[in-house]
């Protein structure tokens, strides 16, 4: 049972890394970006290619994935996304779906559509078991690694948000864009950096997830639903909201499939609907948030 709990946490944290960028950009720029999964895919493929073609060690590929996805995100934000901020949500949906199609087909063309397989370094392949009998806690080292990275990221993000100048500018821009601009905050630059970081995080998530979730050109379409679930349930006004939502969903999914395999697929969706009907603004919404 503890092992399942552990697996669920690891899965949830992975979802969090993947979805946090989406949550922040949606809260900040009010832009429904269904192409978020494409950035994750890019990060995953950067890692795979660097490892397979250049033989770079796994650990080095992770920051590369982050940087690559962030760079692409920054470029796209400046050129394509920015003109669309004030467009209706439907336009944004149409646009981002178009980007996903293009990205998927491009990856398919250049790299092929087979599942990409990563060879983890040896020290990440092991497993540690603590306890005994019914209370065995089996921890795969890779999942431990994911949890560690995620905790570090969360702490880092929370720190940036609450303790740095940039963080307060970001929070101001989320709360009320016009007033923030009126106070002299360069909202455009805040958007650009936030979008870049958000996409970079997605890329990192894609790289980490390649081992657990698989990686092929259909990755964005397959997992977009899960990211959206995390954002919808967790709300877009904080970091902790999506974190808790992701953990909740991760544990529910894994535990559900373990204890009631027949209903495995239903658990996540039903849980989401119940939560959203009960608390339509998401589970964790700050008082006074505008959305």
């Amino acid at each position: 049972m503890l092992t399942i709990f552990f697996d669920g946490i690891a899965y949830g944290m992975l979802l969090f890394i993947l979805a946090v960028g989406l949550s922040v950009t949606m809260g900040l720029m009010n832009f429904i970006n269904l192409a978020h999964g494409a950035f994750a895919m890019v990060g995953g493929y950067i890692t795979v290619l660097l490892m397979q073609r250049l033989g770079l060690p796994f650990l080095l590929c992770l920051p590369a994935a982050f940087a690559g996805a962030a760079l692409i995100g920054a470029v796209l934000e400046r050129t394509l996304y920015r003109p669309l901020y004030h467009r209706p949500h439907l336009d944004q949906v149409l646009f981002s779906i178009g980007i996903v199609f293009m990205a998927t087909a491009a990856v398919d063309y250049f790299i092929g559509s087979t599942q990409q397989i990563i060879q983890l370094p040896e020290w990440l392949k092991g497993r540690t078991e603590l306890g005994s009998g019914n209370w065995i806690l089996g921890m795969g080292h890779y999942r431990l690694f994911i949890i560690a990275v995620c905790v570090a990221l969360t702490v880092g993000l929370q720190y940036v948000l609450s303790r740095t100048r940039f963080g307060s500018r970001l929070r101001a821009a989320v709360d009320d864009q016009r007033v923030a601009a009126g106070l002299g905050i360069n909202v455009n630059r805040v958007f650009l950096s936030t979008f870049a970081v958000g996409s970079g995080l997605a890329g990192l998530g894609g790289a980490l997830g390649a081992e657990v979730l698989g990686l092929d050109p259909n990755f964005p379409l397959k997992f977009m639903v899960y990211f959206l679930i995390v954002v919808a349930v967790g709300g877009t006004s904080s970091i902790s909201g999506p974190l808790l939502a992701a953990l909740l969903l991760g544990i529910a999914d894994v535990a559900g499939k373990y204890y009631i395999p027949k209903l495995g697929a239903f658990i996540v969706y039903t849980l989401m609907i119940v939560i959203l009907v009960w608390r339509p603004q998401g589970l964790f919404v700050r008082q006074g948030a505008s959305k």
Binding site: T3, I4, D7, Y11, A105, D108, S113, T114, Q115, Q116, I117, Q119, K125, R127, E129, G138, G140, Y142, E211, V212, L213, G214, D216, P217, N218, K222, F223, Y226, D253, V254, A255, G256, K257, Y258, P261, K262, G264, A265
Partner: protein, 389 residues
């Protein structure tokens, strides 16, 4: 403005579609190849198309005095699109034979069209038993899951694996595999303590594998569609199940030749049962794999490619027998063909129109730095046990 734009566009579109009418030429033999070229089964489509073109390159593009025209269409794995494309191919392009069919619902959906139009249908990929019963014009050159599963359920108890948990993807072929493996194993005196079904959209096998670990059987029998095998393998190893003494066995889809080489050394020693291995030691197969790789940037053919290659063979020989005619004559030419395929000997049963072939037991081994499914045993001439009649 709306009106003009709208009507203009619709008429233009309709014109573009109806435009250059495809005249049915008397001296072409048309094959309508419907495959999933995009979407989750895209690799199936690629492999089969490559194999079909290889066959044509090797055996020429004329048969019975007619030029062979291969029309390839993408059905995106949507059965109603498959059906519409099949209907259009039959009605507009007047194809002599339909082929391909990546997933079971696609094949089933086209069955009535084949029957109504008397067009033979060669199923090169889909693997559920009941497909050949959907129309008397369906011929299959791929395989069925019961064929592969039963072979393994015979082998396992003889090798000390009596308690086996099954883990299959929750769809037609998976249920076939589970049912036939379980029944045969129990017939042979084994037990199946648990039968787990994984939802098709499942991103994480972890909870299911954990459950297996807790049950501690002798072995785990796995069937997942080709492409998902690597994920199962990796998570199996990650969970330390091999060290816990659980052996991984399954149908060959788990060690799909397409992906096998990338799976790493963790796949070594996995025993699977299947009808085709790229490592099959025959001259014909050597020629097949070398020329396939040459024509396709070093790609290794997998069992889907074998199904496509043999499907073309069946079509060509049948066309020769029917002198280029389609319909019942072509179908008659397909039934009862016995020949050597890259997979080994096989024949098309004249009664069931299904494939009868050898099922090999293979183990993953490393040769020349690459991973291969090396055959170590064979069960000859396996008929599909899943037929109801």
């Amino acid at each position: 403005m709306k009106r003009r734009q709208f009507t203009a566009l619709t008429l233009a579109a309709a014109g573009a579609l109806g435009g250059p009418a495809v005249l049915a030429q008397d001296n072409t033999f048309k094959i309508g190849l419907i495959l999933p070229m995009t979407g989750p089964q895209a690799t199936t489509g690629r492999q089969i198309e490559a194999a079909a073109r290889l066959y044509m390159a090797q055996h020429g593009d004329t048969v019975a005095g007619k030029k062979v025209q291969l029309i390839v269409k993408d059905d995106t794995s949507l059965p109603d699109v498959t059906r519409r494309i099949a209907q259009e191919l039959v009605v507009n392009d007047k194809v002599h034979v339909l082929a391909g069919f990546g997933i079971t619902p696609s094949a089933m959906a086209v069955g009535p069209i084949a029957t109504q139009s008397k067009t033979p249908m060669v199923v090169m990929a889909a693997a559920t038993s009941s497909i050949t019963e959907a129309s008397p014009y369906i011929v299959r050159t791929s395989f069925t899951l019961p064929q592969a599963s039963v072979a393994l359920a015979d082998w396992a108890p003889k090798n000390g694996l009596k308690r086996v948990v099954t883990l299959v993807s929750d769809y037609g072929p998976g249920l076939d595999a589970e049912k036939f493996f379980r029944e045969r194993l129990m017939l042979n005196g084994g037990q199946v303590p648990e039968s787990l079904r994984v939802p098709m959209r499942n991103p994480d096998f972890a909870p299911f594998l954990q459950k297996v670990r807790d049950i501690k059987p002798d072995a785990l029998f796995v069937f997942v569609p080709s492409g998902a095998g690597a994920a199962v393998m990796k998570q199996f190893l990650e969970r330390g199940m091999d060290k816990a003494g659980i052996k991984l066995i399954g149908t060959g889809d788990v060690t799909d030749d397409d992906q096998l080489n990338d799976m790493g050394d963790g796949a070594l020693g996995v025993v699977t049962s299947h009808h085709y291995s790229a490592n099959h030691p025959s001259a014909l197969n050597k020629k097949f794999t070398t020329e396939f790789a040459k024509a396709n940037k070093g790609m290794r053919p997998n069992f889907m490619a074998a199904g496509g290659y043999d499907g073309m063979r069946v079509i060509y020989e049948a066309a020769k027998a029917s002198k280029g005619q389609g319909g019942d004559a072509l179908l008659a030419g397909m039934k009862g063909q016995i020949f050597e395929s890259p997979r080994g000997p096989m024949f098309i049963d004249a009664q069931t129109r299904d494939v009868v072939q050898n099922i090999y037991l293979r183990k993953v081994e490393k040769k020349d730095g690459q991973l291969w499914n090396v055959e170590f045993d064979v069960i000859k001439d396996v008929k599909d046990p899943g037929k109801t009649r």
